[in-house]
C-alpha cells in the first residue's frame, strides 16, 4: 500500500455532511471496534489491513451507550440551554446530578455565580409508543421555551424514540418558527451504534449544523478547547493559566459553557484537543466549514506533551516566541519537581525495577498518557482502552515508536475482562477507569485514572505542567497504602467463578459467529 492509499483508506479527512440529520457511526466512519486483544503493533497492522471487526460478546456487561455514557451526564450542564430527552424516564436519570456537578466549585476559583440548568424528559408512556409522541415532543419544546427562555433547546433521542420512528426533524421544523430558542436535534439513540464515541460525533453534528454561526469577526486570541468529563475544574484553570500568560483566551465548550460559546467556535484561531477522539468531529467540522485549523495530538498531559501542545497553539496563533518563553519559564519551576517525582517512582521498589501500571483509558487518553507514564519513570507493558478506531491510527503508530510495543485490550468497561487482565498481570498500580467492576479488589495499589467530575480540588489536577507533577505525586501516594483493595478482596465475595481467572483469555466470550461488518 502506498502512503497515499494508506491515508485515503485509514485517515480520511471525511467530508462532514451537515445536510444529513446526523453523523455516520464510528463503526463505519473509522472502522471502530470495542473488542480486541493483542500487541498494539498487531492492532496497527490489522487496522491497516482492514481486519478490525466489531464482534459481539456472549458475556456482555453493561457499559454505556451512545446516549448514556457521556451525553446524559454532561450536556445538561450547558448554562443557558435546555435539554429535552425524548424517551422514557430512565434514559435521562443519569442527568439527575445536573444541579450539583459544577455548583460545588467555589466562585473564588472562577465559577460563575448565577446560572440555571434545565432539562426535561418527554416521559414516554405505553400509549405514546403505540400512537406516536411528536405532539408530546412539541409540547415539551414549548414548555422548555416558556419556562426557561433558553438560548438553545437540545433534543436528545433514545432507543424508544428511534424504534418507534419518531420524525424529530419534522417536529422541529414545525415548531421552530414559534420558538425563540434554536432547536438542536441530536440523534443519539443507544441502539444506533456499539461505540459510545458515536455519541460525541452525534452531539457535535448538531452543534455544527444548528448552532455554530458564520464568523462575525475572527477572534485571533481565542482557542477552542472541548473539555469533557474526565478533565477537572483544576485542569481548566491550569490551561487558562498557561494560555493566559501569552495573552490567549480559552473557549471551553460544551460542559458548563454558554450557548454563545458554542456559536463562536467558528471565530477561534485554532481548535486544540484535550481528548482527540472526543474533539475529532468538531475539529474537522470547524475546519471544513469555517477554516478553523486544528490539531489532535498531543494532549497537554505530562511535560513534553504540554510543551508540544503549547507549541502547536503558538503556531496557529502567531505566538511562537511567547510560547517558547513561556515553556522556558515554566520549566524552571516544574522540571526539577518532575525529576524529583520521577526519581521517587524509579526508586520506589528499591530493587532497581520500575513500577508497573495498568491503565484503563479512552483511546484519546491512551495516546498522551502512555508517554507521560514513561516520563514519570513508570512501566506500562499493557493498557486497556475503551474502544479503538482508525482516527487515532497514525498517532498511535507514532506513539509506539516512542513507548515501544505493549499489549492492548480494547474493552468498553467490560468488568469481567478488566478483572481478568488485572488479576493475571498483577501490576503494581491498577488505574481504574471508573465503574471497573471488581477489578479494584487486589493486593497491590489501586487508584483512579481520573476524577470524573467538575472537581475543584488541586489534588485532582492532571493537565499541563502543574498537573504532570500533581498526578505523579498522587500515584506515589497510591503506593503508600494498599489496604482498601486488599481488605475488600479478602473479605468480600468475587463476582466470577475461579475458572474465569485460571484460563488465560480475557476475550474468552468473544462471539466469532457475530460481526457487525
Amino acid at each position: 500500500m502506498t502512503p497515499d492509499e494508506f491515508t485515503n483508506k485509514f485517515d480520511p479527512d471525511h467530508k462532514i455532511d451537515l445536510d444529513k440529520n446526523t453523523c455516520p457511526n464510528r463503526e463505519q466512519r473509522a472502522q471502530g471496534t470495542n473488542i480486541y486483544y493483542g500487541k498494539v503493533s498487531e492492532l496497527i497492522k490489522d487496522a491497516k489491513e482492514g481486519k478490525i471487526k466489531c464482534y459481539d460478546r456472549k458475556l456482555q456487561q453493561s457499559s454505556g451507550c451512545v446516549l448514556n455514557f457521556y451525553l446524559t451526564v454532561r450536556v445538561a450542564t450547558i448554562r443557558d440551554a435546555a435539554i429535552i430527552y425524548h424517551g422514557p424516564l430512565g434514559c435521562s436519570s443519569p442527568s439527575l446530578g445536573y444541579r450539583e456537578l459544577f455548583r460545588a466549585v467555589p466562585t473564588a476559583l472562577g465559577r460563575q455565580e448565577d446560572f440555571e440548568l434545565n432539562w426535561i424528559t418527554t416521559n414516554l408512556q405505553q400509549e405514546d409508543v403505540v400512537y406516536g409522541a411528536s405532539e408530546k415532543l412539541k409540547n415539551a419544546i414549548f414548555k422548555a421555551q416558556k419556562r426557561y427562555d433558553p438560548k438553545a433547546i437540545f433534543i436528545l433521542t433514545t432507543c424508544t424514540s428511534g424504534v418507534i420512528g419518531e420524525d424529530i426533524e419534522g417536529a422541529v421544523a414545525e415548531v421552530q418558527p414559534e420558538v425563540k430558542a434554536k432547536i438542536v436535534p441530536v440523534h443519539c439513540e443507544g441502539s444506533r451504534s456499539r461505540l459510545v464515541q458515536t455519541g460525541y460525533d452525534a452531539f457535535w453534528h448538531g452543534v455544527l449544523k444548528y448552532l455554530v454561526r458564520e464568523p462575525k469577526e475572527k477572534q485571533e486570541d481565542l482557542v477552542n478547547v472541548a473539555s469533557m468529563l474526565s478533565y477537572t475544574w483544576q485542569d481548566r484553570m491550569e490551561i487558562k493559566r498557561l494560555l493566559g500568560k501569552v495573552g490567549l483566551r480559552v473557549n471551553f465548550i460544551p460542559e458548563f459553557s454558554k450557548v454563545e460559546e458554542l456559536e463562536q467556535l467558528s471565530e477561534a484561531a485554532v481548535t486544540a484537543p484535550l481528548c482527540p477522539t472526543y474533539t475529532d468531529y468538531l475539529s474537522r467540522g470547524l475546519k471544513q466549514e469555517y477554516g478553523v485549523p486544528y490539531f489532535l495530538y498531543p494532549s497537554p498531559m505530562g511535560i513534553k506533551n504540554t510543551d508540544e501542545w503549547l507549541r502547536q497553539i503558538g503556531k496557529y496563533t502567531g505566538k511562537e516566541e511567547e510560547i517558547e518563553e513561556l515553556i522556558k519559564e515554566e520549566h524552571k519551576t516544574w522540571v526539577p519537581r518532575m525529576e524529583a517525582v520521577r526519581q521517587e517512582l524509579l526508586n520506589f521498589k528499591g530493587n532497581g525495577k520500575q513500577v508497573e501500571v495498568l491503565g484503563a483509558l479512552g483511546q484519546g487518553r491512551l495516546l498522551s498518557q502512555l508517554p507521560y507514564f514513561k516520563e514519570l519513570g513508570l512501566k506500562s507493558s499493557a493498557a486497556l482502552t475503551q474502544d479503538f478506531d482508525n482516527l487515532i491510527l497514525e498517532d498511535l503508530e507514532n506513539m509506539v515508536e516512542e513507548t515501544g510495543d505493549f499489549d492492548i485490550l480494547v474493552n468498553t468497561f467490560q468488568a469481567a475482562e478488566q478483572g481478568h487482565i488485572t488479576r493475571r498481570r498483577d501490576p503494581d498500580i491498577a488505574l481504574t477507569c471508573p465503574f471497573q467492576g471488581g477489578a479494584y479488589k487486589r493486593e497491590k495499589s489501586v487508584t483512579r485514572l481520573h476524577a470524573l467530575r467538575g472537581d475543584p480540588d488541586p489534588w485532582s489536577l492532571q493537565s499541563g505542567y502543574a498537573g504532570a507533577i500533581a498526578y505523579g505525586e498522587f500515584l506515589i501516594q497510591s503506593l503508600k497504602n494498599e489496604s482498601f483493595g486488599k481488605t475488600i478482596k479478602a473479605k468480600t465475595a468475587d463476582s466470577y467463578k475461579d475458572w474465569w481467572y485460571e484460563q488465560s483469555d480475557p476475550l474468552y466470550y468473544l462471539d466469532k459467529e457475530t460481526s457487525s461488518k
Binding site: 456472549k58 458475556l59 429535552i84 430512565g90 405514546d128 466470577y496
Partner: protein
C-alpha cells in the same frame, strides 16, 4: 379534627395529576431501573438486562449513585450482564443474544438465581423472552421480569419484580407463627432502605417476631421463597408494595397490614409496635415492656439536644420535598416530637390517584397542630423549586436536587439548611444510616441540628 381534614383535601394540588406529562428531573427512574435495583437488593440473585447497551450504566448513575451514592456491588453496574441490543437486534430480534447471555452468565458468574429484566427494546420488537428462559428451566432458576421503561417508573419496577417472583417461583408453604414479611421499602428509591430494614427487623425481634426483610439478607433467594410462610405482611408505605402484598394474600393467604411509612422516633415506633403486637397476638406486657424501655432511653437522649433545639432554632417552619414515605415519617416526627411547624410538603413520588387521599390522611391525621401545611403532589423538579419561593421555612428536608434551593429560595439571609433525606441523594452517602425506629429519631435530630449548631 374534621375541619382539618376537609381543608386539607381541598389543598391537594399537582402540576401533573397523572404524572405522564413531560417533566423536569423527576425523582425516580424507569420501571427497569426499579426492577433492577430491587433485584440487586436480593443477595445471591444476578440480574441480566435484556436491554440497550447503556441501560445498566444509566441506572448505575441515575438510580444507584442517585440512591445514596451506592456503587453497583458484585453484580450491579458494569458487572451486570446485558444483551446490549443495537440496530441489528431491533431488526432480527434479540432472542439469540439473550440465549447466549444466559449461557455465559450462568457459567461464569457467582449466583444462586438469575433474573432477566427486559427493557424497552425487547418489548417494542416483540422478543419471546419467556420461551428463551424456558429452555433453561431444568438448569438454573431464572425469573422473568418484563419492565420496559415506558411502562412506568422505579416504584412500578418494584411491584413488577415482586409480581414476577410471586407468579414464577413461590409455592405454598405452611404458615410459620411469628413470621412477618416487610414490604413497601423500595431499594435505592427509599435511600435509607438498608438501614430501615435492619432497624425494623431488630425492633420486631424485641417483641418476639421474625421479620423477613428479604433485601440485604445473604440467603436472599431463600428469603423470597419464604414469603408465603409468613403470618402477616407488614406494608410500610401508603402505596409501595401494596400490589405485591395483595397478590401474596390472594395467592397464598398471607394477610397484610398497612402502615403510613417506616416509623421514625418513639411515638411512631410505639404505635407501630402496638398495632403489630395486637394483630399478631404478641402478649401486651411484652410489647409494653419493650416500648417502655426504648422510650425511656430515647427520650433521655433527646434531652441532650434540648438546648440547641430550644435556643438556636425552636418551633420554626420547615419544608419537605420527598417521596411519601419519607415525608410522612419526617413531618410527623418534627411536628409531634420536636414542636416544629410544617410550611409546605411536596410529595415527589407520583403515587397513583387512588392512593392520594390515604397519603394525605397518613401525613396529617396524627399531626398535633391546628394549622396544616400546604401539601402538593409534585413530580416536576422545576415546579417543586418554584413552590418553595417566598416562604418562611428554616430547614428543607429534600433530595439533593434541592441542595442549592434552600439558601436560594428560602427565607433570605439566614442560611437555610438543606438535609438530604430523599432520592436523588448524590451528596449524601448512605450505607447503614436511617431514621427508622427509636434510634432513628435521634439520628434525624443529629443530622439537622448539626447544620446550625454552634457555641451558645
Amino acid at each position: 379534627m374534621s375541619t382539618k381534614e376537609n381543608e386539607n383535601v381541598e389543598n391537594i394540588q399537582s402540576s401533573d395529576p397523572l404524572g405522564t406529562d413531560s417533566v423536569e428531573a423527576p425523582k425516580y427512574s424507569c420501571a427497569l431501573g426499579g426492577a433492577y435495583g430491587t433485584a440487586l437488593g436480593v443477595y445471591g440473585l444476578v440480574p441480566l438486562l435484556h436491554a440497550g447497551l447503556g441501560c445498566g450504566m444509566g441506572q448505575l448513575l441515575g438510580q444507584f449513585y442517585a440512591g445514596g451514592h451506592n456503587a453497583g456491588g458484585p453484580v450491579g453496574g458494569t458487572s451486570t450482564p446485558t444483551t446490549g441490543l443495537v440496530e441489528e437486534h431491533v431488526i432480527f430480534g434479540g432472542e439469540d443474544k439473550l440465549r447466549k447471555l444466559i449461557e455465559a452468565s450462568t457459567e461464569v458468574m457467582e449466583g444462586n438465581a438469575f433474573a432477566v429484566i427486559s427493557g424497552c427494546i425487547p418489548a417494542l420488537i416483540g422478543d419471546d423472552v419467556e420461551a428463551v428462559i424456558r429452555e433453561f428451566e431444568d438448569e438454573v432458576p431464572i425469573i422473568n421480569i418484563n419492565a420496559p421503561g415506558f411502562n412506568g417508573n422505579s416504584y412500578e419496577g418494584y411491584e413488577l419484580f415482586f409480581e414476577a417472583v410471586i407468579d414464577q417461583i413461590l409455592i405454598s408453604l405452611p404458615k410459620e407463627k411469628g413470621v412477618v414479611n416487610i414490604l413497601g421499602v423500595v431499594p435505592y428509591q427509599h435511600i435509607f432502605w438498608k438501614g430501615e430494614l435492619a432497624a425494623i427487623k431488630k425492633i420486631l425481634g424485641k417483641i418476639g417476631l421474625k421479620a423477613n426483610i428479604i433485601f440485604t439478607e445473604f440467603d436472599g433467594i431463600e428469603k423470597l421463597k419464604e414469603l408465603p410462610a409468613a403470618e402477616y405482611t407488614l406494608v410500610l408505605s401508603t402505596w409501595n408494595g401494596h400490589r405485591a402484598a395483595k397478590k401474596l394474600e390472594e395467592k397464598f393467604g398471607v394477610p397484610f397490614i398497612t402502615f403510613p411509612s417506616v416509623p421514625t422516633g418513639p411515638k411512631q415506633t410505639s404505635k407501630f409496635l402496638r398495632t403489630v403486637g395486637e394483630k399478631l397476638n404478641v402478649p401486651d406486657n411484652l410489647v409494653e415492656k419493650v416500648i417502655k424501655e426504648e422510650e425511656r432511653r430515647t427520650y433521655r437522649f433527646i434531652e441532650y439536644s434540648g438546648d440547641i433545639l430550644l435556643i438556636a432554632r425552636p418551633h420554626s417552619y420547615f419544608a419537605v420535598v420527598a417521596d411519601s414515605n419519607s415525608a410522612i415519617n419526617i413531618t410527623n416526627f418534627m411536628v409531634n416530637e420536636l414542636g416544629y411547624l410544617p410550611d409546605i410538603i411536596e410529595l415527589t413520588d407520583n403515587p397513583p390517584e387512588e392512593y392520594r387521599e390515604n397519603i394525605i390522611k397518613a401525613l396529617t391525621e396524627d399531626l398535633e397542630i391546628t394549622s396544616l401545611p400546604e401539601i402538593i403532589f409534585e413530580p416536576d423538579s422545576y415546579e417543586a423549586r418554584e413552590n418553595l419561593r417566598g416562604r418562611s421555612f428554616l430547614f428543607l428536608f429534600a433530595s439533593s436536587l434541592e441542595l442549592y434551593s434552600a439558601s436560594e429560595l428560602g427565607a433570605p439571609d439566614v442560611g437555610v439548611p438543606h438535609i438530604t433525606v430523599a432520592f436523588p441523594s448524590y451528596n449524601r452517602v448512605i450505607l447503614d444510616n436511617s431514621y427508622a425506629g427509636y434510634g432513628g429519631g435521634l439520628r434525624l435530630i443529629e443530622d439537622f441540628t448539626s447544620h446550625f449548631a454552634g457555641p451558645l
